[in-house]
């Protein structure tokens, strides 16, 4: 395996750079997803009640909302509280309401949904359902904002998958080429092994292992590079001061994702070997 060290090193390093690019996107994706998660956690849904609703009905609605498994927390705001809040928030505007003689603001529930229902789809479906409840006049939340966020996440997902697929194919090609060189350098030895009755698996397994090891080493090295870049980036953020505190919010890939990346490298290396062994076999036959 270490017969041509230079080619092997080149293969590991190129694979590492390739997979590091995948890693950068993964890192970006993971962090944006986390950020999106925090933002979505903050989404409050306003369930406005019809005016002059009997307190029995209000209690019914409250009961119904509380027993809803999607609802994480619930806060009732009476007409009076709503008015109070409005006045507190917009003191200069309060004369607008005084002229009306009666309180025009509706009573409402402020609902926070539990995490499984944070996706834009789930929020939409929940809101549609509650809109049908008798006594509810309006369900409101910042739909545009959530939709925009969902779109951004979705496109990042697509880009990440696309880039991941392309770069993975590149890694497979790099490793396939390296193994092809090894196979070529060893073609006499392989021919001899065939002649003396070595099975195909006996002949191929060392090369498949070599590919898998190259791939794993490449991806391990890519993680080291990634971690280095990540620390450098955080340090830069701290140094500029402008994003102070934010640097702690940026997460590195979790250990399980790191393991998955190494497994991916191993799989890509294995696939690379398989490709060149297939080609080599065809050329021989």
């Amino acid at each position: 395996m270490w017969t041509n060290r230079a080619t092997t090193m080149v293969a590991i390093v190129t694979t590492a750079f390739t997979l590091a690019c995948v890693g950068v996107f993964l890192l970006l994706y993971v962090n944006l997803l986390a950020a999106a998660g925090w933002l979505q956690d903050d989404v409050k849904i306003m369930v406005y009640l019809e005016d002059r609703l009997a307190s029995d009905s209000v209690a019914d609605i409250e009961q119904q909302l509380r027993s809803d498994q999607a609802v994480a927390s619930l806060l009732f705001i009476s007409k009076e509280q709503a008015l109070g809040e409005f006045k507190a928030q917009f003191p200069s505007e309060s004369h607008l309401l005084e002229g009306l003689g009666q309180n025009p603001l509706p009573a409402s529930f402020v609902v926070a949904l539990s995490p499984p229902f944070h996706s834009p789809d789930a929020i939409y479906r929940w809101a549609e359902r509650v809109r049908q409840v008798a006594g509810v006049s309006k369900v409101d939340y910042n739909q545009d904002w959530i939709d925009a966020l969902a779109k951004v996440i979705h496109s990042i997902e697509l880009v990440a998958i696309g880039i991941g697929v392309i770069l993975s194919a590149a890694a497979v090609t790099i490793i396939a080429n390296t193994i092809r060189l090894t196979l070529f350098a060893r073609r006499d030895e392989i021919a001899i092994l065939r002649l003396i009755g070595a099975t195909t698996s006996f002949i191929h397994i060392p090369y498949l292992l070599e590919g898998a090891v190259l791939g794993s080493l490449g991806s391990a090295l890519s993680l080291v590079m990634l971690k280095f870049m990540y620390e450098l980036f955080r340090q830069q953020m701290r140094a500029t001061g402008r994003f102070a505190g934010l640097d702690n919010l940026i997460a590195f890939l979790s250990p399980s994702v790191c393991l998955a990346l190494i497994a991916l490298g191993m799989g890509l290396g294995f696939a690379g070997s398989l490709v060149s062994i297939r080609r080599f076999g065809e050329a021989k036959a």
Binding site: R194, L195, I196, G197, A198, T199, T200
Partner: protein, 222 residues
């Protein structure tokens, strides 16, 4: 032990073998003669499944080689030893390791390997060179190592393609004597050669190929 039934083989449009039929019994020593390009190597390659005939059937050790699946061919080759003009030894492995190779690929225990390799090296007379690299050996010795590798498995058939092509007359007769010895122990031996000297030395059954066809058989008197 070996049977060919109406075997033909062509490369592109050129015929390498046409309608060759013969039978070789267990324990025979047969010379396959014919000038260069007659089809001797092609025939031997087909006996170990390295090449498939376009027509006809080939049986080796009761197996129809033409019907073998790819995965079965290695097991055929463990029963058929092969020796070549160019030796085909691994240059970076010692004599011992080269001869051990056919056993190694079968997963045989290292104690058994040591015993069998020693036996084979003694049988061909190069046991004293076991730790050297092939390049450190004379051509005659290299051919002996190659023969040791071919017999280490205890094959039922030994095939040799121009085994003396690189050897001078003295070495040639030594190697031929070795083949006779191996044959005397019950292994069927087939030697392909264009060297008349070998034919004189062997004095056994001769199959002659000429431009891919088998000529009527004769026995050399010595």
């Amino acid at each position: 032990m070996i049977q060919l039934i109406h075997v033909s083989k062509r490369y592109d449009q050129r015929s390498a073998l046409s309608d060759v039929s013969f039978e070789i019994g267990k324990g025979e020593f047969v010379l396959l003669m014919g000038p260069s390009g007659a089809g001797k190597s092609t025939l031997l390659r087909m006996l170990i499944g390295a090449e498939q005939p376009d027509e006809g059937q080939i049986f080796v050790h009761q197996k129809n080689v033409t019907m073998l699946r790819r995965s079965e061919i290695p097991y055929l080759r463990r029963k058929v030893g092969t020796v070549f003009q160019d030796f085909r030894l691994l240059p970076k492995k010692s004599v011992f390791d080269n001869v051990a190779l056919p056993l190694l690929v079968q997963g045989i225990s290292s104690a058994d390997i040591r015993r069998k390799v020693t036996e084979a090296l003694r049988a061909v007379g190069v046991d004293h060179k076991r730790d050297q690299l092939p390049a450190g050996l004379s051509t005659g010795e290299q051919q002996r190592v190659c023969i040791a590798r071919a017999i280490v498995n205890g094959p039922v058939v030994l095939l040799a393609d121009e085994p003396t092509g690189n050897l001078d007359p003295a070495l040639t007769s030594e190697i031929i004597e070795l083949f006779k010895l191996i044959n005397a122990r019950g292994t069927t031996v087939v030697v392909a050669t264009h060297d008349p000297l070998v034919m004189e030395q062997v004095n056994r059954r001769v199959l002659t190929l000429s431009q891919g066809t088998l000529l009527p058989e004769r026995r050399v008197k010595g």
